[in-house]
């Protein structure tokens, strides 16, 4: 990103403002059955000014990064705020402040790979799958790296320059089943540039074998029974449970718009075995998939303990919601592109691991299901949620049975979490997620396996 001096065009007479310069970059190489079908790169950059005056916000943005444009968008943001302020009847609030300054640039310290090296890495894996699993009807492999670089200054003294990279390897295997195609899929990777995560294709072979076995399992599936069952949700599902089922209901803008979590502060909403945190950047001495050190309002980003041993303790905030609810800032204000306003967004939402072993959790179920992989999820203000289940297995008398056909699990989060009786001691981060809430944005989510009571769709 070509850095630009932003302080020269500061708007005057405003209650608060922020100016952002941002570039989003992406590289993608995909192979389908040995053919390179995607070789794409993109970059999108520009500037944005957001102004706050008399209780209203104005925002203006442009892809151009020059001094006259910055002056123009700053004026436009201020006039937009003034225009709305004239139509408002609500009271004006004083925005709180906890500014921080810092630079966090996570460029790899290793020798960056050339395009040809990345291409050869994927091609090597493609050749391996083709040779090892010749019966597959389709194999699709790809790598994608996204980078978000931002420079933000705010009128209350916040300033940050960050570059956050994520890199992924995607694997899709398709085979012929008795009733048509069956598939196995995995997104591997997370925080860092590609060179930080991968060095040798052989390191991926074990995961490829798991994807292949799951594809084979899908050849002989049964319908799940419709109804309520004891289930073990694998650690691969824990993140989406934390994010969709609980996380969204505790975003303070949802709370202000009536989320059920607004009624439950400091009350028991889960089993005492359950603690849930939206981690700002570091957990267990390791950088999380989407680290946020300072948010897009220049606020110091701090961990937000949402549920502590079953008790709902806090919500996630931006400046406006913290002021309206009289609570502490948490540093959750984030915008995805240069032209996006900061919204309250989760960062790395996780359930804290417990002490149980996954095998013992499965063994404890008489009749139920082991649910492993989700392909999407949605939340509701009532805390009712649903996840699409792409991979799961029957459990009978403590033993795994056949795989089940695609289904949906649902529940009311604050009811379901009270049924949790076991929490495993492992931890899995899902790092490839994008959360859609007006803007699609990178999020991390994770957790251990949990045993609970779940509603399933089926026959």
């Amino acid at each position: 990103m070509r850095m630009f001096e932003m302080k020269q065009s500061l708007p005057a007479g405003l209650d608060y403002w922020e100016i952002k310069q941002q570039e989003n970059r992406e590289q993608m190489v995909f192979f389908l059955n040995g053919n390179m079908i995607h070789n794409n790169r993109s970059s999108s950059s520009g500037m944005m000014c957001r102004a706050y005056q008399s209780g209203a916000w104005g925002l203006a943005s442009s892809a151009l990064a020059d001094s006259p444009t910055l002056g123009r968008i700053c004026s436009k943001a201020a006039s937009n705020a003034a225009l709305l302020a004239r139509h408002r009847t609500g009271k004006q609030i004083l925005l709180p402040s906890n500014p921080a300054r810092g630079e966090y640039l996570f460029y790899t310290k290793k020798q960056p790979w050339s395009f040809a090296q990345r291409r050869d890495f994927v091609q090597d894996l493609d050749n391996y799958i083709h040779t090892k699993y010749p019966g597959l009807s389709t194999r699709q492999l790809g790598i994608r790296q996204d980078e978000t670089e931002k420079h933000i200054i705010t009128s209350d003294g916040g300033e940050m320059h960050v570059m956050i990279p994520r890199s992924f390897l995607y694997v899709l295997m398709v085979d012929k089943g008795p009733d048509g195609p069956v598939q196995g899929y995995r997104a591997l990777g997370g925080f860092g540039q590609f060179e930080d995560i991968y060095s040798d294709p052989k390191e991926v072979y074990e995961e490829l074998e798991k994807v292949y076995q799951e594809t084979q399992d899908m050849k002989d599936t049964v319908y799940a029974q419709a109804g309520s069952f004891d289930c073990v949700l694998d650690s691969r599902l824990a993140g989406i449970l934390a994010h969709e089922a609980v996380g969204h209901t505790t975003e303070a803008d949802f709370v202000l718009n009536g989320s059920i979590a607004g009624d439950y502060l400091n009350q028991a909403v889960a089993s005492p075995l359950v603690s849930l945190i939206d981690v700002a950047h570091t957990y267990a001495d390791t950088i999380c998939p989407v680290p946020v050190f300072i948010d897009d309002e220049g606020t110091l980003a701090e961990d937000c303990v949402i549920i502590d041993k079953g008790i709902l303790k806090s919500y996630m905030h931006n400046k406006e919601s913290a002021a309206m609810l009289g609570m502490q800032l948490t540093g959750n204000a984030r915008g995805h592109c240069f032209y996006d306003e900061p919204l309250i967004r989760m960062r790395n939402t996780m359930i804290v691991p417990g002490k149980d072993k996954l095998a013992e959790m499965i063994a404890s179920i008489e009749e139920g299901y082991y649910l492993v992989e989700s392909n999407n999820g949605q939340a509701d203000a009532t805390s009712e949620f649903m996840f699409g289940i792409a991979l799961g297995y029957e459990v009978k008398n403590g033993k795994l049975g056949k795989a089940i056909k695609s289904t949906t699990m649902s529940g009311v989060a604050f009811d379901l979490l009270k049924t949790v009786t076991m929490v495993s001691d492992d931890m899995y981060w899902t790092a490839s997620g994008m959360c859609g809430k007006k803007q699609s944005i990178q999020v991390g989510m994770g957790g251990p396996a949990i045993k609970c009571r779940v509603n399933l769709g089926g026959k």
């Binding site: 070789n39 970059s43 203006a60 999407n376 289904t407």
Partner: protein, 428 residues
């Protein structure tokens, strides 16, 4: 825009490219947001986007940028020529053949900001006066965009359009109980009518209040489902994506890879892509390749008539390039009103919103019925909670009972209500 597109194509050919394609879009939008029931945020956005595709020796590379200064463009094409050289060949890569240049202009190109503020104020006032138990946000925006699509075979299409977009998200709290949230959304070429009066907006908001007190339904039964137009549109897109799209065909995920002309669904089902439909606010005039999009029945009386696929997938699978796309879809209305459809339903669910995962390749799926109602003996009994509908999407399209007279026009798709049988419904 013309100058930049031409210059990029000429420069790429000069540098040794066999073929090139450039799509250049510039847009401005104004977005007025009601947040926490008050006018809260006004955004004014300007954006540019250039996507450059280069083809050389049966290889392809693509770069998208939003900087249009000379240095940025030159840097992009230099990088593209390097990466295309290191790409892998596939003879299926190609661009659209020559066609006569075309120019399209559609919609209101200049926003009426005062009208936007007035429509939002009117909406907020009715919400506060008539539905005091409802919490809501709402947004109205106007977007004006210009797109130039050019390739080295002489394809040259200009599109300039303007449209308004309304969305609202709402939930109700009453007597210590709360409803699920629901949404209303549309794109329109004008704001001549209040937002409440377009599609089912007012009815959805009325319903949200009674949904604070759902009833109990039988634990499990097999019954009929009436899908609301929004839900049907989503499932139709899913069906096309799963079996008739580029990815489904080239990844061997389709159950119907060579079924052109075959009857796959109920003869009551006709799905037509209507890219010039004057009733739709956002018309997709061209395909992703740049061909002028034709009006085409993808499914006609249950028979598959077209795979709406682009050049690469067509070449890869030996099928014709469709010159149609899976957008601006229309299902024609039926004879019965929604009220009559309900009256003819013995036992089932009126599904006003569906929260679901992807169906399996075989079409098996389950969805949570949100903002929905239990129907028994031809009458709405109560709103439901925590209710799951399990069915097979392909079987559902073969078990269509009827479509409603009422339709919903979201601006890019027009759908009626659809009733089908044989779904497993489980309540709590």
């Amino acid at each position: 825009m013309e100058k930049i597109c031409k210059k990029l194509i000429d420069r790429l050919l000069e540098l040794g490219a066999d073929k090139a394609l450039v799509i250049f879009t510039q847009s401005e939008s104004s977005e007025f947001n009601l947040i926490y029931k008050e006018l809260n945020l006004l955004r004014s956005l300007e954006s540019s986007d250039i996507t450059i595709n280069v083809y050389k020796d049966d290889k392809r590379a693509i770069k998208s940028i939003n900087q249009i200064d000379e240095a940025s463009l030159e840097e992009a094409i230099t990088e593209l020529m390097q990466t295309v050289a290191e790409s892998n060949p596939d003879p299926a890569f190609d661009i659209a053949e020559y066609q006569e240049p075309a120019v399209f202009t559609d919609g209101v190109l200049v926003p009426d900001s005062e009208l936007i503020v007035s429509r939002l104020a009117e909406f907020a006032q009715e919400m506060k006066d008539m539905y005091p138990d409802v919490l809501f946000d709402a947004t109205i925006s106007h977007t004006h965009s210009q797109t130039r699509f050019m390739n080295s075979n002489g394809v040259d299409v200009s599109i300039e359009r303007g449209y308004y977009e309304f969305s609202t998200m709402f939930t109700a709290k009453k007597g210590g109980k709360m409803s699920s949230m629901n949404f209303a959304y549309f794109r329109a070429s004008n704001l001549d009518r209040p937002c409440m009066e377009i599609n089912q907006s007012r009815e959805l908001i009325r319903q949200i209040v009674e949904q604070t007190h759902p009833g109990t339904i039988p634990q499990k039964f097999v019954g009929e489902v009436i899908l609301a137009p929004f839900v049907l549109g989503d499932l139709i897109q899913t069906l096309i994506q799963s079996h008739f799209s580029d990815n489904a065909l080239i990844s061997n995920l389709s159950l119907y890879p060579d079924h052109l002309g075959q009857k796959l669904f109920s003869e009551k089902l006709t799905i037509t892509s209507r890219p010039r439909d004057p009733h739709q606010a956002v018309k997709h005039f061209i395909t992703s390749d740049g061909y002028l999009a034709r009006e085409e029945a993808i499914i006609d009386k249950g028979v598959l008539r077209a795979y709406p696929i682009a050049t690469y997938a067509a070449n890869k699978t030996g099928k014709p390039v469709a010159k149609c796309h899976p957008y601006n879809l229309v299902i024609a209305p039926g004879e019965l009103s929604l009220a009559e459809m309900i009256a003819h339903t013995k036992q089932g669910i009126l599904c006003m919103r569906a929260s679901h995962g992807k169906p399996s390749a075989q079409g098996d799926m389950s969805t949570v019925a949100k903002n929905s109602y239990y129907i028994k003996d031809g009458k709405i009994v109560c709103p439901v909670k925590e209710t799951m509908i399990s069915f097979n999407l392909i079987e559902a399209m073969n078990s269509i009972v009827d479509f409603s007279r009422e339709t919903h026009n979201a601006g890019e798709m027009i759908m009626p209500y659809m009733r089908f049988g044989g779904a497993t419904i489980s309540g709590k």
